[in-house]
Amino acid sequence: MTTADPAYAAIRRAADLRRELSSSFRDEAVRSIYAEASRIAARAVRTEGGRRLDFDQRIDRLVTSPVFGLPIMAALLAVVFWLTIAGANVPSAMLADLLFWVGDRGADLFTAVGLPWWVTGFVWQGVYRGLAWVVSVMLPPMAIFFPLFTILEDLGYLPRVAFNLDFLFRRAGAHGKQALTMAMGFGCNAAGVIATRVIDSPRERLIAILTNNFVPCNGRFPTLIMLATIFVGASFPAAFASVAAAGAVVAIVGVGVVFTLAVSWALSRSVLRGEASAFTLELPPYRRPGILRILYTSLIDRTLFVLWRACLTAAPAGAVIWVLGNISFGGSTLDRQVAGFLDPFGRALGLDGVILLAYIIAIPANEIVVPTMLMVYMGTGQMTDVAGFDELRRVLVDEHGWTLLTAVNLMLFSLLHNPCATTILTIYKETMSARWAAFGALMPLGIAVAVTFAVATLWPF
């Protein structure tokens, strides 16, 4: 091609000139376009009665202000958690009472009919108990948390969140819209990973996919809320307990956001090197949330959907635990042996063997970590009901030697460890790469192990 030589000359010269220009020339070019647009608009557009700000703009001034934006965001999140924690406690206990009562009657019925003990045990103490736990621990918080979150979403608040966080993500070399996919991750990390399709640059999209796991999904929220309630909340006077617990959950979410940014930063300076790309974010007008739509989206689409998925994984997990708990081998049951084997490693992380075993069994779905843990702790042979958080605290602290360190590290581990199987599969489908899926699973796990180990080691000081 005859044009090739001058073309290469132009490209080479451009590369030289680029090095001479200041590193921020891209931003400057964008800024000069914006300045010009603003100048032309100021000359051509006249608004009656001067520059009267409408109601939307006044709100936006406040919620996206550099000073108040982030604190308002944290406060809103805290209120949502507080309402969830304060509101879910009593219904959770009632639901647990009811479901375990049903379980006992079912087991009685099976025994009365004359079915062998292992059928009764497998069905009612294994499969059914797993389900009952998941429903009673998860349903009330979700039925409160999701409608509240959907109200914020419906109001049009989420794009403002992205706006507030944009500068942080840009500094981390990631895309500002990652704030949105991160917010989706609070609902479900798999959904958050799919939501990264709004990010056009493949590099920034991959960063958003790999770090989505660092915000706790609703499967992990019950764990966090429970731990915050029985360990953090309980060390405060009753009047402040739920406020303190909500504060602890906000703090752990904050830790998650810090890790999201730190890992994004590290990735965009190592394996996914590059600059943050520019984008325009339209802040839609605020809307009055539609009550029916909120109830439908949050209860049918989200709560029931998530609960159903949790049940599907909890039933087999309950069965596995029951089987492990009832097969004896060399004098003790199989689950005790596995937990015993994992125990030294668990202790090094400030946890214990049972917790690690629960995490391994709960890989299909994080929702069932706590139920699994409790079932192993209490032994499936005995029909102990744990109704309410006070009872739970008694069991964990008095009988199994939990400390504040255990609770803190369990919260950290729950926040940082590998995503559930569904999310890993989603990462694989979205990236079409087994390597990125493996990285997406092992990188957070490595971080979780490192962080909990560090905390456990430094705790005595």
Partner: protein, 271 residues
């Protein structure tokens, strides 16, 4: 390619490569604009039922094109994806940018929202960097009036250096004036001198340094300045277009097209 009485067919090879068929059309007009500015409403108002939709070749972005006739000239209207800018590398922006750059439309209508003109002007300024045959359609004039917003179209046209026409796509208000401006810009009856944003002195010097080299590589390109900016940004696609000679081909095709069309008008007296 069909060979019936169509003078411009031969020169629109590049357009056909982008999936635009040109038989029975004299001119190609691109429709650009931010999302939610009433771009599709305008498209429907202009083309009515004479439209069909498909995908951009090799892309998952949907494309709508349609036809209309104005002052005895047959137009093909290509609806570009709604974008906020032509800077970053989203598929939508890439499609819109490639069409303006390689499709060489005879005119480009940039639809803007009168109630949010400042935000919309960012895209207008970027389009003006690529092509000088632009008409700015200021849509939603009725809504602006209701909100007490007054848009001085003459000031806008003077600043931008291209015609600016106020319209209400929903009711059809101002469409005749818009098409008259499109006709004027496409035929050269209305001369344009698009505003080009200069940037910082260092940046301007770097651009001026590159422009002659680009004009040497692709003689006659109308947007050497914009290409220089893209090269400075390290835009791999623009580099490729320059090296492969695709840009030079497009320019040559457009020059032939313009010549043929003016001859056709002279012969048939279409205007």
């Amino acid at each position: 390619m069909t060979t019936h009485a169509c003078d411009t067919c031969a020169v629109h090879a590049e357009l056909e490569r982008m999936g635009v068929t040109l038989d029975r059309f004299d001119r190609v007009v691109a429709l650009a604009g931010n999302p939610n500015t009433g771009k599709s409403t305008l498209f429907n108002a202009l083309t009515g039922l004479r439209q069909h939709t498909g995908n951009w070749p090799g892309k998952t972005v949907t494309r709508a094109e349609g036809g209309f006739e104005f002052a005895k000239v047959r137009y093909k209207l290509v609806d570009l994806p709604g974008t906020y800018s032509l800077l970053s590398a989203s598929t939508d922006e890439e499609v819109a940018r490639d069409f303006l750059l390689f499709g060489g439309p005879d005119a480009t209508i940039v639809v803007t929202d009168a109630t949010a003109l400042e935000r919309n002007l960012n895209l207008v300024l970027q389009v003006l960097e690529i092509t000088d045959r632009v008409v700015v359609a200021v849509n939603l004039m009725d809504e602006a009036r209701r909100k007490g917003i007054e848009v001085d179209l003459r000031s806008l046209a003077r600043d931008l250096g291209v015609p600016a026409v106020g319209i209400v796509a929903r009711t059809g208000e101002g469409l005749h004036a818009l098409l008259d401006a499109v006709d004027g810009v496409a035929s050269g009856r209305i001369p344009t001198r698009p505003l080009r944003v200069e940037g910082t002195p260092d940046f301007r010097r770097a651009v001026q340094d590159l422009v002659p080299l680009i004009e040497q590589a692709a003689p006659g390109v109308p947007n050497a300045r914009w290409l220089a900016i893209r090269l400075l940004d390290g835009d791999a696609q623009v580099e490729e277009a320059l090296v492969s000679g695709r840009l030079a081909e497009v320019v040559a095709a457009q020059q032939r097209s313009a010549a043929r069309f003016s001859r056709k008008i002279a012969l048939e007296g279409a205007q």
